[in-house]
């Protein structure tokens, strides 16, 4: 059963990664990042049960906390950029280049 959970986790992670790569709306990109974090959490919880050890759940908890903080800051940044540039597309912020 453990294998199934882990493969599901890997699938979700990969889908999230592809989402980061193909979507241009910064908010959707952000959602995909969250998806990847959640996939990791699933792997942690699975391993915690596999080994009968609570540490995996603790880590998943911390990941959630950090993700919450990250969402707060990230969305604030997106709002600010949108305010000044009238756009939430990550491709529009491409001034830092050759």
């Amino acid at each position: 059963m453990t294998t199934h959970y882990l493969v599901l986790s890997a699938l979700l992670f990969a889908i999230g990664a592809v989402g980061v790569l193909v979507r241009r709306n910064a908010i959707v990109v952000f959602m995909c990042v969250e998806l990847m974090l959640n996939a990791c959490n699933l792997a942690f919880v699975t391993f915690a049960r596999q080994h009968g050890n609570l540490d995996g759940q603790i880590i998943a908890f911390f990941v959630m906390v950090v993700a919450a903080a990250e969402v707060v800051i990230g969305l604030a940044i997106i709002v600010m950029i949108f305010r000044t540039r009238r756009s939430a597309s990550v491709d529009d912020a491409n001034l830092l280049k050759y």
Binding site: V20, L21, D91, A93, N94, L95, Y98
Partner: protein
């Protein structure tokens, strides 16, 4: 043979302030150069006044020197500590140096006065006088110094001043080139002098004349020969002797008073002075002496041949200077018997050559600065003073009996004849050539048909120019007899250079003297038929091989170019090529490779965060793959 007397320290009287001789013209130069256009209106008077004051000090020192007994006539004037442990700055007032000082300041003063008129239309007259003063000061330091280091400073000062003056009209490319040429050729000679001074220092541990000359006999013959040859190299550079003669003819690019100053009173005499002053070294190095005489004879013939073919009046005179300095070198190489004649000829030559040059300048002044003698002719009636003084100078230089040149040049020829028959007869031949080329010059300039340019209106020069000419021509007439008869000059110089064992007796009508006179007469008559009686073509005919040879300065420049310039050019071209293609090619190629690569690589930085994320994901995939691979091994 009587040796020179010892140098006695001295610090009182006029001799005690003899440094004023150098300082006054130097001060004049400094004031004129530093004050700018403020002194434009009266600067030339200041320059003349400084040289005249210097002349007065020289005369006063001379009178004081004459008042002393013969064995005290060498006075060392210590000034200050110059280079501790090596050289102290001091002056040496003895008959030799005071003779030079009198010549330099005396003739120099006349040239200064003449220049007021000659340069009156030049906007840079003030600068010109500043350089003239600098020239005189440097030359005086050269002859009055009591050690080789101070002498070398004067020597270099002369080189600098000559550079500045020859290139005075630096807007003319030819003048700028001539100045550079004089400077560079002189560097070769200076190099020899420097090495000689180094050798003297290592051999004797001193550079002061008072210390090194008494020790000359103790050094090895080889060392002394080397020192002598190196000193000769220095002398050749300054005195335009073979093989460093090439700068002198080009030096005519400077204003005529400069030519007069260089040729008559300063610069070219420095070499003769150096040889005579260093006589103590040469007397123990017979090989070096022999080389000096050979160089002298070769130069006197070469100068005469060049002078015979030049149509430019100043270049003709320049060839003549080479030739006459050759006589002096010949005499200086003979030893104590010749020193007095060398210096006496130098002094009389100073007068008549200044006379001739200033006369030529006066002619040019009246002829719109035309220098080609083929465009002169028949000038005698329109500029009588110039013509008469020029002819007096001419008679003096060819050795017309009883004029200055007769006594001094005959003295040299006869001494040479006693020393070595071959050298003597070659000197006689040179005298004949002198008769030819100087006569040619006079006939082409003052007699014959008028071949003037259409816009030429020849006229006599102002008094400020003719008075110096008259004074110089008086010197040209009487100075020789005064110096030579009764060995007056030889005895005067004795405290400085010594006396030969038996004093020469000047007698009219010796074999050599008669032969000289005969050859000179033949030369003059030949010149009369070629250039006096016959018509002179206004454009130079092609001429024989010998004429071309002489016109090209005996191929001296061609030789220098082939032997020195072209290999140097090849070397520099190769170095430039190597630098451009080899070194720069490597460095630039590397830089271009890196630059080009990074120029392409930076295109990867698209600014799109998604591109970067893609590469991160690829990297992560590779890491996972690698982990799996390693874990399965």
């Amino acid at each position: 043979m009587q040796s020179p007397v010892e140098i006695i320290p001295h610090s009182s009287g006029v001799v005690g302030v003899s440094w004023l001789m150098i300082v006054l013209p130097l001060l004049g130069a400094a004031i004129l150069l530093l004050s700018g256009r403020r002194t434009d209106r009266w600067g030339h008077f200041l320059g003349v006044a400084m040289v005249l004051a210097s002349f007065v000090v020289a005369v006063a020192s001379f009178v004081e020197l004459l008042g002393l007994p013969e064995d005290q006539r060498r006075m060392g004037v210590a000034l200050y500590q110059f280079i501790p442990g090596m050289a102290d700055m001091g002056l040496l007032i003895d008959p030799l140096s005071i003779s030079f000082a009198l010549l330099i300041t005396g003739v120099g003063s006349l040239i200064h006065i003449y220049s007021i008129g000659y340069m009156s239309h030049d906007p840079d007259r003030r600068r010109f006088f500043a350089y003239l003063n600098l020239f005189v000061a440097a030359m005086l330091l050269l002859v009055l110094a009591d050690n080789y280091v101070a002498l070398f400073i004067g020597w270099e000062g002369v080189g600098l001043a000559s550079y500045l003056l020859i290139g005075f009209w630096q807007h003319k490319p030819s003048a700028a080139a001539a100045a550079k040429k004089a400077f560079i050729v002189n560097r070769v000679g200076d190099f020899g002098l420097l090495i000689a001074i180094f050798t003297i220092w290592t051999t004797f541990g001193s550079v002061a004349f008072a210390k090194v000359f008494p020790l000359a006999g103790e050094a090895s013959n080889g060392t002394m020969t080397a020192v002598g040859l190196l000193l000769l190299l220095g002398a050749c550079g300054k005195s335009a002797q073979l093989p460093l003669q090439s700068w002198l003819l080009d030096a005519m690019e400077g204003p005529t008073p400069v030519s007069a100053l260089i040729h008559a009173a300063t610069m070219v005499t420095a070499g003769v002075y150096l040889i005579v002053r260093s006589g103590a070294f040469f007397e123990v190095a017979p090989t070096a002496q022999l080389v000096v005489t050979i160089v002298g004879v070769a130069t006197l013939l070469a100068g005469a041949i060049i002078g015979s073919a030049k149509d430019d009046i100043k270049k003709g005179l320049a060839g003549s200077t080479m030739s006459q300095i050759g006589y002096m070198m010949l005499a200086a190489g003979i030893g104590p018997a010749g020193y007095a004649f060398a210096i006496a000829h130098l002094i009389t030559h100073g007068f008549f050559k200044a006379n001739l040059f200033l006369g030529a300048g006066s002619v040019m002044h009246g002829m719109n600065d035309e220098v080609d003698m083929r465009r002169y002719g028949g000038l005698f009636p329109v500029m009588r003073i110039t013509a008469i003084t020029f002819i007096i100078g001419y008679l003096a230089i060819i050795g017309f009996p009883l004029l200055s040149g007769y006594f001094t040049k005959d003295g040299i020829i006869e001494t040479a004849m006693e020393h070595n028959q071959i050298l003597g007869w070659l000197a006689v031949l040179g005298a004949g050539l002198t008769g030819f080329y100087m006569s040619r010059m006079v006939f082409m300039t003052f007699f014959g048909k008028k071949r003037w340019a259409d816009d030429a209106h020849p006229h006599e020069s102002p008094a400020v120019m003719t008075v110096p000419l008259i004074l110089l021509s008086i010197g040209s007439i009487f100075l020789g007899a005064f110096l030579i008869l009764g060995n007056r000059f030889m005895k005067f110089l004795a405290p400085a250079v010594g006396l030969p064992e038996e004093l020469p007796v000047f007698h009219f009508g010796s074999t050599a003297g008669l032969a000289t006179l005969a050859l000179v007469a033949v030369g003059a008559v030949f010149a009369w038929f070629r250039y006096g009686a016959a018509d002179v073509p206004e454009v130079a005919p092609r001429g024989s091989f010998l004429t071309t040879f002489a016109r090209r300065d005996l191929y001296g420049d061609a030789l220098n170019e082939t032997l020195l310039m072209r290999p140097g050019q090849w070397l520099t071209r190769f170095a430039v090529f190597f630098d451009n293609r080899g070194v720069d090619g490597l460095v630039n190629g590397l830089a271009a490779t890196i630059g080009g690569t990074s120029g392409r690589l930076r295109r990867i930085q698209t600014g799109y965060v998604r591109s970067y994320a893609l590469s991160i994901l690829f990297g992560a995939a590779v890491v996972v793959g690698a982990l799996l691979y390693v874990g399965n091994m």
